[in-house]
Symmetry: none
Subunit: 190 residues, 4 copies
DNA sequence: GATGAATGAGACTTCATTCAT
DNA sequence: CATGAATGAAGTCTCATTCAT
């Protein structure tokens, strides 16, 4: 990615996250990227394509971070621990991207369907870990579709927390706690 | 709420959920409500105000359903069970509303901040249940802000599931499973 | 004029003067008159008709005040003195009406042409006084069309003054001075 | 001012003058300027800003014409003579602009207040001439605020005359006469 | 590669007017 | 006489996109 395109990319994430995709204008993105409006169209076919590119890249980074770290581990519980930590850390580092993602995957039109498909690829990684954990008897028998969705829901949870507690948001603390509840449950057992 | 305003209200939910808030036009809403465009403006000041009204009403219904059922119970675990069930059922019945809500609460502009504030009112109900459970020793010591956010994240989880499995989405089954994992955790204990 | 129509009439003058004819809405007028919007249409055919009625009435009052006072005088200079004083006083009492009038008589469309025609009727009164004064050798030979127009221009002058000096606008002082300059000129003569 | 913006400027004066500011539409202006509607908004933020720009420019030209000619003269009476002549000539050349101006300066809303402020800058030039004339004993002691307002009122007078006598409007004749009456008064002196 | 003036479809909104009550 | 809910034509403005330079 050459430097102009990268500047546009970053400007777009920041702009979309601040104002949302629809309220962001090509003018804003161009200004924020310090290029002329026409330049956006030299690097991207359309505003939609910027969004698509952005979501592709973001999910690619997330998937890579997860895959990389997970491959070195050989215990499903450790892997899930890692997933939770990475998600929390990712949101800490790339909150703007998550904001854009979460604003765009609901709804039933084509673009949103496409984005969700990309998301499912990520969820499959989690599903696989869960299946592995079940067969290893480290995780209880459960519906892996539901559980992987719950893992995704955690991203929403963490973003809600972050937005609620802007000043002191500690991704490590969050991850630790969520992990504990997820593995052990919250019910008190005598 | 007189009948015209109600027709507009319903048309708006359906339209926003189908096309998203920004891609929905006042023309579409008017047509779907079978009124003239001007009539929308007789009952609402602006498109934004329709959205606001819609989110207010939706969250009010959700809060009422939860409060009503919860007040009859006197056990925090039972209450959380109920919350999960209601959330799942609510999403089954009013998926369109949830779609609109989840598309609008991320981001940092004024309107979204306002919507999130309304959401926090709902989360406070859950926080209270958790505090109650902790003091009753039915729930383990935990950070109630995090846990209540996780409970909200479940709404996202369930919507992801519903969108993924359009044909056979069974709110009872989902609720049962999520509840089990939430209370007992997913780690296998010998 | 029954009481409802009169309330509308007064509300219209005040509203038109505050916001101008085009920015005033029937809603505003109705609210200011404390009647329902439909009631306006019971008493007037249209918004334009309200304006027309208002200008007709206003000019009628001005013409009457002038005619009444002038008929008792038998000296053209005294008559002009009276015209100036009445104009100044009228503007003091009915500034809102003058504001509306002065905003509506320029331009070339039909309505404005019509309003100007009504105004010319007033100017003719002044022309006649001037002609009378010339034949009586009280006033120098001059073009009475020009001079009567100048007398009208004074209304603009006085409104400008009033708007500039909101706090202390003294119609008597203004009238005295303008009269002096008009009769004697402003050039210093040895 | 580049050529597109200038075309819009001229189209706007002509359109506003024909139909008045409020009845003129952006469509009309665009068509008259031979540009697309969007182009108007590329060069001006809003319809109001076109009006503002137009009034600024018009008054600037008037002030410049007056200042330029006046600076060469060193006699207050000659200066006033020049003012009257320029006003009359300006109205002959740029009647459309004067029409727009006179339709917009009455009333009490913000925009009109702003326009009047700009007008006062012009009146101050006249005030200064009058003060000068008084100190030179060329002009009688008088209230310069009133007299400068009267000079402005003449613009209204002349426009009334022009509108009344469309076919034969001779700015030189008008100026000569008004000047005579203004300096010497209209009262016959033995 | 980059620019930015120009475009025009289409969005939101306003508001005078109507009409059944 | 009076009301006010409903209308829809028409206006202002936005903005993604194009294209000649």
């Amino acid at each position: 990615m050459n430097s102009t395109k990268e500047r546009i990319f970053k400007a777009a994430i920041s702009t979309f996250s601040k104002s949302g995709f629809y309220k962001s204008t090509m003018d804003e993105i161009a200004e924020s990227a310090n290029v002329a409006k026409g330049t956006l169209y030299y690097h991207f076919k359309s505003k939609n394509e910027i969004l698509e590119f952005l979501i592709d890249e973001g999910l690619k980074v997330l998937k890579n971070e997860v895959s990389e770290k997970i491959d070195k581990l050989n215990n499903a519980v450790e892997k899930l621990r890692t997933v939770i930590f990475i998600q929390s850390d990712f949101l800490y580092k790339y909150g703007d991207f998550i904001t854009v993602l979460l604003s765009q995957i609901w709804g039933n039109n084509k673009v949103q369907d496409k984005f969700r498909e990309k998301l499912y690829d990520y969820l499959k990684i989690i599903e696989d870990i869960i299946k592995e954990g079940i067969s290893e008897k480290l995780i209880v028998e459960c519906d892996e579709k539901i559980v992987s969705s719950v893992f995704f829901g955690m991203i929403s949870s963490i973003l809600v927390l972050k937005l609620r507690n802007k000043e002191n948001f500690d991704p490590g603390y969050i991850a630790d706690n969520i992990l504990k509840y997820t593995l052990n449950g919250i019910q008190y057992v005598k």
